[in-house]
């Protein structure tokens, strides 16, 4: 059993989804963590200077938005679906809609289609105004395959 799935069991027991982020070094480094929200799971990337991609605007690096949308999808799959394995990302397409200012980014994910082995997830990220997303993403994850065979739907 992976330590992430152990941490998931602990987080469920404690009712604290934030524990999930502590098990992932990259999430800690990026300050990306899921939050206990009302009725929906939100993931927040806390602003720090290391996220900047353009110092003149200034704006967050596009890669940080793609990364946090991917983490948002993973946290969603772990917390909101009955996954028995750590979701394995197959691909992700990120659309950049607005330049992201140097403040926190919040995101949520929804499952568009849950298959036996493959899940299609949509995620969107915003800053102060939820109706003005800064980036959206679609991603595929393998959820129950133990081999490295190419995914087939």
């Amino acid at each position: 059993m992976s330590s992430l799935l152990e941490r998931l069991a602990e987080a469920r027991k404690a009712g604290d989804v934030g524990l999930l982020a502590e098990a992932i070094p990259y999430a800690r480094w990026m300050r990306i963590a899921p939050e206990n929200g009302i009725g929906e799971l939100l993931t927040r990337m806390r602003y720090h200077d290391g996220l900047i991609g353009n110092t003149f605007l200034p704006a967050l690096h596009g890669g940080t938005l793609g990364a946090m949308l991917e983490m948002t999808a993973i946290f969603h799959l772990l917390w909101e679906t009955e996954t028995e394995t750590v979701p394995k990302i197959v691909n992700i397409t990120v659309d950049y809609l607005r330049s992201a200012r140097p403040v926190d980014v919040i995101a949520r994910a929804t499952v568009t289609k849950q298959g036996r082995r493959m899940v299609n997830v949509f995620a969107e990220a915003w800053q102060d105004d939820r109706s003005k997303p800064v980036a959206t993403a679609n991603a595929h994850f393998l959820v129950k395959s133990s081999d490295d065979a190419p995914p087939s739907l």
């Binding site: 992976s2 330590s3 992430l4 098990a23 992932i24 070094p25 990259y26 999430a27 800690r28 480094w29 990026m30 200077d49 290391g50 996220l51 900047i52 991609g53 353009n54 110092t55 003149f56 605007l57 967050l60 690096h61 596009g62 890669g63 940080t64 793609g66 990364a67 946090m68 991917e70 983490m71 750590v86 990302i89 197959v90 691909n91 992700i92 397409t93 990120v94 659309d95 950049y96 330049s99 490295d148």
Partner: protein, 162 residues
């Protein structure tokens, strides 16, 4: 007068400065520019514990690869712009074809194969040294002439002899 871009080492040092050292997130990742010429860019990301996505396996998270591929594709775009103009990523697709090997550096190679008035088209691969055995494949498009002032990195393509 010789261009500072004529010598390969000097050119790489300038790209390192404008595409990694002065971009806070690229610097935080420790991205190293290993090659740059008209239409082509290559970077290296060294494995670090804090970039790991699954502590059980030590495999890098997708995020650092996303950021490197975005940056590398952007660098390839910059080499193609004869007139300095600001640009921004419009979309980026990444296929994770196999997990990165823990402990090994990842190399990204990006090509900007078409530039129009408004859009630049790029593709890239990430690998461990053998481009025929990729870890990830990417396709990115960039919007040209976006808001804001031209950064030094975005005007690098206007230099002669890059």
């Amino acid at each position: 007068m010789t261009s500072p871009f004529a010598d390969r080492d000097a050119r790489i040092a300038l790209f390192q400065k404008w595409f990694s050292d002065t971009i806070p997130h690229s610097k935080a990742l420790g991205l190293k520019v290993i090659d740059a010429r008209r239409g082509f860019a290559s970077m290296q990301l060294d494995w670090r514990e804090e970039l790991v996505g699954n502590p059980e396996t030590g495999v890098l998270a997708g995020g650092p690869l996303t950021a490197m591929l975005d940056g590398c594709c952007g660098m390839a775009v910059a080499t193609m712009l004869k007139e300095p103009k600001p640009f921004a990523t419009l979309d980026l697709r990444i296929d994770y074809v196999r997990p990165a090997t823990p402990g090994k550096a990842v190399i990204a190679e990006a090509e900007c194969y078409r530039v129009t008035n408004s859009v630049a088209f790029t593709r890239a691969f990430a690998h461990h040294g053998d481009a025929k055995d990729p870890i990830a494949a990417a396709a990115g498009t960039f919007m040209l002439g976006t808001k804001g002032i031209v950064t030094r990195a975005q005007s690098i393509g206007a230099e002669p002899k890059i």
